[in-house]
């Protein structure tokens, strides 16, 4: 698989998806560029979640044409390529049966990090999210907002090249929201890419490079502004897990 430094992480063309006999997505073309913050807007039921899951490789779009890091792929190949590489955060996150620490450790374990290293990374990440006091709590006992913050920490710690956030600030309190937006900006600085579906437009509009607007499964013309607000530091390490 070519991992040449294509500026496009992923391109999808002719994305038509039918679920339960209903046309859910009908997108001519969508492109995710490396290092951008993309805001995904759209009313309830417009297809944001579905689009994010396709880019995450969790829903297959058999008839669409993909190009991942420059290589053309069909739906099946693209799903396999994206799965685990692009990290998707559920709108209502799922907590594994275990402590908060176990949950945050999950992805690191899959990446073969050893125990000692994991421990340090997890403590750091939880400290960042101000969740240290929950570290030994059972994840099922958490409040909805706490779960959302743990889920974000669990994904963030993997430093994926593409992070797909599905309205994850919906149940967060104002401090956590602010911290989440700061994190998104940090990610961009580190050269990573973030797609953020949301109904809270203002805070994200300040840092987003692109705004994608979905409406009844169709994509409105892209509003691509100069990536100005935060300077793109191409030299910083790019995590290609």
């Amino acid at each position: 698989m070519s991992t040449e430094a294509s500026t496009n992480l992923i391109e999808v063309r002719d994305l038509n998806l039918t679920l339960a006999k209903r046309r859910v997505l009908n997108i001519e073309s969508v492109v995710i560029r490396r290092g951008e913050i993309i805001m995904l807007a759209g009313n309830n039921g417009s297809g944001k979640t579905t689009l994010l899951k396709i880019i995450a490789g969790l829903i297959r779009a058999p008839e669409a044409h993909f190009r991942c890091l420059g290589s053309p792929m069909n739906g099946e190949q693209a799903a396999a390529f994206c799965r685990g590489r692009h990290v998707y955060l559920h709108q209502t996150p799922y907590m594994f049966d275990g402590s908060v620490e176990d949950n945050v450790a999950y992805g690191l374990k899959q990446r073969g990090r050893d125990f000692a290293q994991r421990r340090i990374e997890i403590r750091d990440a939880l400290a960042w999210a101000e969740l240290e006091h929950l570290v030994h709590r059972h994840a099922h006992e958490l409040s909805t907002g706490e779960k959302q913050r743990v889920a974000l920490t669990r994904a963030r710690i993997l430093a994926p090249s593409l992070l797909l956030l599905d309205e994850i600030t919906a149940n967060m309190d104002s401090i956590s929201r602010r911290r989440t937006y700061e994190m998104v900006a940090d990610f961009k600085r580190a050269g990573s890419t973030v797609v953020f579906a949301t109904h809270d437009h203002e805070p994200l509009e300040a840092i987003a490079d692109v705004r994608l607007e979905l409406s009844k499964g169709k994509l409105a013309p892209t509003d691509r502004r100069a990536a100005a607000v935060i300077p793109l530091r191409r030299d910083s390490s790019i995590h290609e897990s």
Binding site: K53, A56, G57, L58, R83, G84, R85, H86, V87, Y88, H90, T92, P93, Y94, F96, D97, Y106, G107, Q110, R111, H140, R154, A155, L158, S241
Partner: protein
């Protein structure tokens, strides 16, 4: 009924005195059934997972088939294994008939449909997001499968316990392919059948209680492992 009390007391006495016959019967029971369940469980879990998490033509037919196969009488499975393993049968040369291996084969076949069907129900009632979350966090499909299994372990454990209950208590198949040979293939259920055929009903029930006692030990151990089993999410 006082006869029953006496028979039970005798059974306990024999247990404690380390009676060779009784202990051989017990050890045949548990060693055969535990080995059978150990072999059947991974196969069944994988099959159930495949039925629940993949979509292929004939999937639904297979689910119905599994449900139907739960209704196969043990003695029919016993007969089929018997015909396969007997001298004239296709696997006669292995000389497995009337050995513990034959009993294990029979019991595996006996518990597979139950295990698959119950595990399938457990997978179905599990949360699809567990699977998606595992995958997106970088788990291979294999690891993600194990994660999902861990998440629904109560349901899977219930399936395994039910399957174990079925084969540890089963007589038709063990009798048929094991032959109820003392010190070799006589287990608790076939021993009970023997006592019953002699008209020694109390002894039969006493043996049943011995079986129950050991099953209880096993379940208490599992209970500790599985936690309370109360809903508290």
């Amino acid at each position: 009924m006082s006869e029953l009390g006496q028979a039970s007391a005798e059974a306990v006495e024999l247990l404690l005195s380390g009676d060779a016959v009784l202990w051989s019967i017990i050890s045949v029971s548990f060693s055969v059934s535990l080995r059978a369940i150990a072999i059947a469980t991974p196969i069944a879990l994988f099959a159930a997972f495949t039925l629940a998490y993949t979509s292929f033509p004939g999937r639904r037919m297979l689910v119905t088939a599994t449900n139907t196969l739960m209704a196969v009488p043990a003695v029919v499975i016993g007969l089929s294994v018997y015909l396969l393993l007997s001298r004239g049968g296709p696997f006669g040369d292995l000389r497995l008939l009337f050995t513990q291996s034959a009993m294990i084969i029979g019991q595996i076949l006996l518990c597979l449909p139950l295990l698959i069907a119950m595990a399938h129900a457990a997978f179905q009632s599990g949360d699809q997001r567990a699977w998606e979350t595992a995958l997106t966090l970088g788990a291979t499909r294999w690891r993600a499968m194990r994660t999902v299994m861990y998440e629904i372990r109560f349901g899977l454990l219930a399936a395994v316990i039910a399957a174990f209950g079925r084969i540890i208590a089963e007589v038709g198949c063990s009798m048929m392919v094991g032959g109820n040979i003392l010190y070799h293939t006589r287990n608790i259920p076939t021993a009970i059948a023997l006592e019953t055929s002699k008209g020694a009903f109390s002894q039969g029930i006493a043996l049943g209680m011995v079986l129950l006692g050991f099953a209880l030990l096993l379940n208490v151990a599992l209970g500790y492992a599985q936690g309370s089993g109360e809903i508290d999410r």
